[in-house]
Symmetry: C2
Subunit: 204 residues, 2 copies
């Protein structure tokens, strides 16, 4: 095989892997870890059943990668708000959550957060998923803490709680509110939670 | 069949139903809705496979009943704290959550809350479960609001937030903290959440 062919084979493999991860996010979000069938994921990407294990060692390893794949765009979205020179960190946080709330309404309250759903379903039965979930939540929480810390420096958040403590409260409250959203079929739990924490409890 | 025999058959049926619901709580808690097999639940209670449908019309109906069966003792536990004439409503809430935190430590952070796990997993794919989850969470949240309202009257909680708003925040925060507990293998998210809300944010 020529070097060019080898490279294009590598690229095609990476593309298929990426598509499998995208479909993994969509189907695990809708049906859960146990409810999402590997065969459905493979079919939707056009990969023959037997070849899954050319891409991932097991469903558990696949799901651990799905978790990383899922959280990356959220961190990027918050980063792109934080990089705006024209707004405060508090405004960046508000914009970020407002966009998530609008997206949840567009999606008609479906899905929630893949991390929250999987923490509930397999947080204790799959050690690989638990470790991947822990790393993803920590990374997300650290990004929120960075924003809250900058907001403290800008005088928009209280100083008597650490940014880490506020980030933990925000993550927990948001996760709980997403669960409530799904069963109440309403974005009210999300809006109310963000309003109470960012605009009230965290105020200086 | 004599009347006595009919009654004892009825009682035995109710006992078996109760055992199936108990096992449903345990297994759905550990493996999730899709991961918990009906056959395992039946075997553990000694009920022949084919006779499940004598007790429940479907796995979905069974799970909806499991949800009600699960929440009842939590409401009873909070009630029994609230009925104590020697303590304030705030102390009753503290005692109630402290007991849950100690139990979570004894269980080595396993399980979390069946309602939270199921809201994440099947909150949007099973309408029967969604309705049962909504009713159970509402009932639980109303009981917390009752305690918070009494705490406001006793001067121990702030008056500028409604008891319903505080109860919603408490439910969401607790659900999120339980998910974090599972992946961090620590009760710290629970203790920190209760401390921050009951002893700080909700203070007058």
């Amino acid at each position: 095989m020529s070097r060019k062919n080898a490279m294009s084979k590598q690229t095609s493999r990476e593309l298929t892997r990426g598509k499998l991860l995208d479909q993994g996010v969509a189907l695990i979000m809708e049906y859960g870890y146990h409810g999402a069938g590997l065969q459905t994921i493979l079919q939707s990407v056009g990969v023959p059943k037997g070849s899954f294990y050319n891409y991932f060692p097991s469903k558990e390893d696949f799901s651990a990668e799905v978790i990383q794949h899922y959280i990356a765009p959220f961190i990027a979205a918050l980063d792109s708000q934080l990089e705006r020179p024209d707004i405060s960190a508090r405004q960046a946080l508000r914009n970020y959550f407002q966009a998530l709330i609008e997206e949840a309404a567009r999606q008609e309250f479906r899905g929630g957060c893949l991390l929250g759903n999987l923490m509930g379903e397999v947080g204790e039965t799959s050690e690989k998923c638990r470790i991947a979930l822990h790393a993803a939540v920590q990374c997300y929480r650290d990004k929120l803490a960075e924003a809250l810390r900058r907001g403290q420096q800008e005088g928009n958040f209280r100083q008597d709680l650490t940014a880490d403590t506020m980030a933990d409260l925000l993550v927990n409250q948001w996760q709980g509110a997403l669960l409530r959203m799904k069963i109440e079929q309403s974005i009210a739990p999300l809006s109310e939670s963000i309003e109470r924490l960012l605009n009230d409890y965290f105020s200086p």
